[in-house]
């Protein structure tokens, strides 16, 4: 093992390696995976001079702590949280030098769900089908972090211009998801479609990287038959038999047999990744571009 590595001291509730994912394999049943809050992952990579495809850590609610074996530049972004090096507070959302053997602690998110940790050179685990992302649905890519695990780091690039600070959006107080209706809105009663686009939902605590689950009024079907399995896209709003909409996130299954009432605009999904359980959700119908 080289010195370009870090040890996991505190894995946190769920910390995974994520990059841009592995699109292009859906026909084999391989989910796209990748960072749920893509802009946050891209930003922390820029802060340490990485290319956008470098792998970062994605934490869930209570952060993680790692000990790099050699001095390294890191940046933490996404969900705002306290960041310390050997117990001393350091900047969030800015590049930070961590000395060899020091403890980098990413604390519990003050707001939002997922913080992102970039290391200069990126997390260097072996790619699977071109991506280092952990896919929680299919089990592809590295396992979620565990205490005591050692993860390799890549070689830092010096060519890519890094930035010192950058504005980041705040996690949403209310999650507004713009949707285009279809392809299966005709499987629901007109009343259900009105309910979906006008009533308030809340983010369910059962949400994960596969889907943002919601609590709220159940949507009634007009057609009660079984839909043959069909391909699913990122942001698809699938309605299972309990009638509560589920928004498909990066680890979503590639095919599914419950009707998709609408599809969320991709640009609204990073905010969905940061919406804590209980956050109010509104689905707003917009015209197709």
């Amino acid at each position: 093992m080289t010195d370009s590595a870090f040890a996991v001291v505190r894995a946190g509730a769920l910390t995974t390696v994520q990059d841009l994912g592995r699109p292009g394999h859906a026909h084999l049943g391989v989910p796209r995976s990748g960072a749920l809050d893509g802009p946050a992952a891209a930003l922390v990579n820029r802060l340490v001079g990485n290319l956008p495809e470098a792998a970062v850590l994605e934490t869930t609610l209570n952060g993680c702590a790692v000990r790099p074996r050699s001095t390294i530049l890191v940046a933490v972004g996404g969900a705002p949280c306290p960041v310390t090096v050997d117990g001393r507070p350091v900047a969030w959302g800015a590049p930070v030098h961590v000395p060899a053997g020091a403890l980098l602690d990413i604390g519990t998110a003050v707001s939002g769900v997922r913080s992102y940790v970039a290391f200069a050179g990126g997390v260097g685990v072996e790619p699977v089908l071109g991506s280092r992302s952990t896919d929680l649905l299919s089990g592809l890519g590295p396992a979620p972090l565990t205490n005591g695990a050692i993860l390799p780091l890549g070689s830092p690039m010096s060519l890519h211009a890094r930035v010192d600070v950058a504005p980041q959006p705040r996690p949403p107080v209310e999650l507004v998801l713009r949707v285009t209706l279809g392809p299966r809105d005709d499987w629901f009663t007109p009343e259900a479609v009105r309910t979906f686009t006008s009533r308030a939902y809340r983010v369910s605590s059962a949400s994960n990287r596969i889907g943002l689950r919601t609590e709220g009024p159940a949507l009634e079907r007009a057609l009660t038959g079984e839909l043959p399995s069909e391909g699913m896209v990122l942001g698809a709003v699938q309605v299972p038999p309990d009638g509560r909409p589920v928004v498909f996130l990066a680890d979503h299954p590639t095919t599914g047999g419950y009707p998709v009432i609408a599809v969320v605009r991709p640009s609204d999904l990073p905010a969905a990744a940061q919406a804590v359980p209980g956050t109010p959700v509104r689905f707003v119908a917009v015209r197709r571009r």
């Binding site: 699109p23 299919s138 392809p183 069909e230 391909g231 095919t255 605009r265 197709r288």
Partner: protein
């Protein structure tokens, strides 16, 4: 044929039968190979083909619905043979549903040439068609919490092989030693949409 818009950059092409879906899928692969179609994902399924990552889905929708889709090209691909031991825990239930003696299940199943209609559920899991409709079986009322890798199962019109251990509700009739998915192999998936498959009974695998 209908082409339903899905979000701003995808289309769901819906047809009346699995055969038509196969023909549409083959035509879309041909167009992509010839550089006539720029798309990130082409995902066939039971009665549909999803096209994701399109720049102008509306234009493609009108093109597709105006065009005559030729039938799928002749089956030029080789047949993948999967050695199988017909000893699954649901063999007796399947025999009862088919109204045949238990040993007949293997004979009927192994006499069919299957084709991968589509993949899903897990990387490398193919939905194989080929059994006549009279052999459709329901899923198990209570899914198993653990099904081993290589288990061969039936559900609805489909045969499938579990690429790795997972929960599952299919009726298990046998086991294969074939490795359905290996991400260090090229290609990683033994079965992909369109692959022809035969199950070859073995006494002991």
């Amino acid at each position: 044929m209908r082409a339903l818009p899905v979000g701003d950059s995808a289309l769901l092409v819906e047809v009346a039968s699995g055969e038509e879906a196969q023909a549409v899928h083959a035509e879309l692969l041909r167009r992509r190979a010839e550089g006539l179609l720029s798309v990130r994902e082409i995902v066939p399924a039971a009665r549909t083909v999803l096209l994701d990552g399109l720049t102008d889905p509306a234009r493609l929708a009108s093109e597709l619905t105006a065009a005559d889709v030729p039938p799928a090209p002749p089956r030029a691909r080789e047949v993948i043979e999967l050695p199988v031991r017909y000893d699954g825990p649901d063999l007796a239930d399947v025999a009862a549903l088919w109204n045949v003696p238990e040993r007949e299940v293997a004979r009927i199943h192994a006499a069919i040439e299957f084709r991968v209609a589509f993949c899903g559920f897990a990387p490398g899991f193919g939905y194989l068609i080929g059994l006549p409709a009279r052999y459709d079986v329901p899923r198990r009322a209570t899914p198993r919490t653990a099904v081993h890798a290589g288990a061969v199962g039936l559900a609805g019109p489909y045969t499938g092989v579990y690429p790795r251990a997972s929960p599952g509700g299919w009726q298990l009739i046998g086991t294969t030693t074939a490795v359905l998915w290996d991400h260090t192999r090229e290609p990683a998936a033994l079965l992909s949409p369109g692959t022809r498959v035969r199950f070859v009974p073995v006494a002991d695998v």
